[in-house]
């Protein structure tokens, strides 16, 4: 006993050492294998961040950065006196707020679908309503153009039915830009956004519905008192997330749908950053506006996450 104990101890220690040595060797091997991926993430996500320094120089394309003047926060100051900044922010906020205001529609749609008893009809509705999610904004534009342009389907149908004799230009309507764009976004996303609510509805205990029916509750009442409260948490999380994306109104959509007639009212922050940069060639100022947007977005994300933690006891990130 007295001899074996130290012997086994030694053995165990040696084993541990061998293991840790092996461990270390494996560790280095693994580290080397992971290295290319770390470099990949660094190169494509972190390196562009160094580009933020352009915002602090009076950079012009073609002249190396070392030859350009350091101007500090000048670009950020310009932002406050930029007459275009106000309208752009209003466009961005209006389009974001409109999409937030329409956020209950996918929920309503999901409830309606879940109330359908016929399986094939349910599948038909789900399959068709999700299709627009998978196509690019360019295709959506092409479809919208065929429907709503002056020679498009809608105008010719209205004309044939004698409902209008002057073609309506939906995509070039200055006064209705925000409404049209919100409806287009809704058309593309409603079926897809509903999926998550449908899953939440499926997981509701069906006994609750049976009990309510025994008590004599109708369809609308069971929806209002059982379905809606059950999917409310999901709705709140998605709503909070969309608040944190307030300044990121969809770039591709508005780029594609922009035209001379409506450009003023569809130019959102991302679009403005692009126009300043690549069209005007003012890289420095464009970068500054981009930084402004990123910083506010991150602040919003943290705020929303903090509020969510405080009131729901759970973060959203």
């Amino acid at each position: 006993m007295e001899f074996t104990e130290p012997a086994t101890k030694r053995k165990a220690a040696r084993k541990a050492a061998r293991k840790s040595k092996l461990y270390r060797k494996d560790g280095i091997k693994l580290l080397l294998m992971a290295l290319p991926f770390v470099i990949l993430a660094f190169a494509f996500s972190y390196v562009p961040l160094f580009g933020w320094i352009y915002a602090f120089f009076d950079y012009r394309p073609g002249i190396p950065l070392s030859n350009t003047e350091f101007i500090g926060l000048e670009n950020f100051r310009t932002m406050f006196s930029d007459p275009r900044m106000g309208p752009v922010l209003i466009n961005t906020l209006a389009l974001s707020l409109l999409s937030i205001a329409t956020a209950p529609i996918p929920m309503l749609f999901a409830i309606m679908v879940s109330e359908v008893k016929s399986e094939w009809f349910k599948r038909l509705v789900q399959t068709t309503s999700t299709l627009p999610h998978y196509i690019s904004w360019i295709i959506v534009f092409s479809l919208a153009f065929s429907m709503f342009s002056t020679e498009g389907a809608v105008n010719s149908i209205l004309f044939k039915l004698g409902l209008s004799d002057t073609p309506v230009n939906v995509l070039g309507n200055y006064d209705r830009v925000w409404t049209v764009q919100t409806l287009l976004l809704l058309w593309k996303s409603v079926g897809w956004s509903a999926i998550i609510y449908l899953a939440a509805i499926v997981s509701i205990d069906s006994e609750q519905y049976d009990a309510a029916r025994v008590d004599g509750a109708g369809r609308l009442r069971t929806i209002w008192h059982i379905t809606v409260p059950s999917i409310m948490p999901t709705f709140i999380v998605l709503l909070l997330l969309s608040v944190s994306n307030l300044l990121s109104a969809g770039f591709e959509q508005y780029l594609v749908f922009s035209n001379v007639m409506i450009a003023d009212r569809i130019e959102v922050l991302d679009l403005y950053v692009y126009r300043l940069g690549l069209v005007t060639g003012d890289y420095s100022y464009s970068t500054a506006v981009g930084i402004f947007k990123s910083v506010i977005s991150i602040i919003l994300l943290f705020t929303v996450n903090f509020l969510s933690k405080k009131f729901r006891g759970q973060g959203i990130v």
Partner: protein, 308 residues
């Protein structure tokens, strides 16, 4: 029998009013949903019947049925200069981009599940954080240029090779697999890479398929990298070709007059027909793999929801 009917008469009348309400509810519900289905499907249907209509007839208006029947627009569109090249570019970026991102994300996710990996947590976080920030347009543009990715096919596939969200999904999946399988392979003397290719990767097929479908649709639909950084006409994607057609109708008439001067039969074809046909060609692959999309996307969004 009769006594029971009398006893529950008041109940029956209440039930009848409930039935009536139920019927009204169903009628409204089915009606609204049917309208929504039509609103969603009709634009696709319209493009389809227009593209197979006789081009000249179609100008007078197409609503429910094709006006005449002709595949001339397809024949001409496919023969337009650059279309086949663009289709090839779109196809290659979809296939290569998907393969690359699946390989990178899954192998990296596997490495992250290994306890022996030093600084494991930090490496994982380093990659995940990339989901939450974005340097902005000009810094992105200048960086890609500095890497020499302008007018380079690699621009389409390299930046999206490692996606934080995909890594989370695969890592969560691998962690659920039984450890014993991996251990037995290790005892047989297999190294990490061998274990990954012969054990982990095949077992992770359900999640890999989901991510592959995600990535493929993304690749097929992405065009802004092409729009901002690639001018080389040999590297145009199909999406951008369509966008250019939509944007500059003059471009299109140029193309058709070009063909006209070459004595083709374009006289019978309108720009609208060609636009509809290209839209069909770009949408078709998505519609064809749609059943697959539905299955895997729903799975994917659910996994994401569980994580988030």
């Amino acid at each position: 029998m009769s006594t029971r009917t009398i006893a529950s008469q008041s109940g029956a009348s209440r039930k009848r009013s409930l039935d009536w309400k139920n019927l009204a509810f169903n009628a409204c519900n089915y009606f609204i949903l049917s309208v929504l289905v039509i609103v969603t499907i009709y634009p696709f249907y319209y493009i389809f019947i227009y593209s197979i209509s006789d081009s000249i007839e179609a100008q007078k208006g197409v609503f429910l049925w094709p006006a005449g029947f002709s595949l001339e627009s397809y024949r001409t569109t496919i023969a337009l200069p650059g279309i086949m090249d663009a289709a090839l570019v779109s196809l290659s970026r979809t296939v290569l981009g998907t393969v690359l991102t699946v390989c990178c994300c899954s192998f990296f996710a596997y490495l992250i599940t290994k306890d022996e990996l030093p600084y494991r947590k930090w490496i994982y976080r380093f990659v995940l954080v990339t989901m939450y920030f974005n340097a902005g347009f000009i810094p992105w543009y200048l960086t890609m240029k500095a890497y020499g990715l302008q007018n380079n096919f690699l621009l389409y596939i390299l930046p999206s090779a490692l996606v934080g969200f995909n890594v989370i999904l695969i890592k969560t999946f691998i962690e659920q697999l039984p450890v014993s399988l991996e251990e037995s392979a290790k005892i047989d003397g297999a190294g990490y890479f061998k274990i990954f290719t012969s054990v982990i990767f095949p077992l992770s097929m359900p999640i890999i398929a989901t991510i592959a479908v995600f990535a493929a649709v993304g690749q097929w639909n992405t065009w802004f990298d092409n729009y901002f950084l690639v001018e080389n006409p040999k590297l145009q994607t199909l999406q951008l070709v369509l966008y250019n057609l939509l944007n500059q109708s003059s471009n299109l008439s140029n193309m058709t007059t070009d063909q006209l001067s070459r004595g083709d039969l374009v006289r019978t074809l309108t720009p609208q027909s060609i636009r509809m046909t290209i839209t069909m060609l770009v949408t078709l692959p998505i519609v064809l793999v749609y059943p697959l999309l539905q299955r895997y996307f729903v799975k994917g969004i659910m996994l994401g929801a569980v994580k988030g």
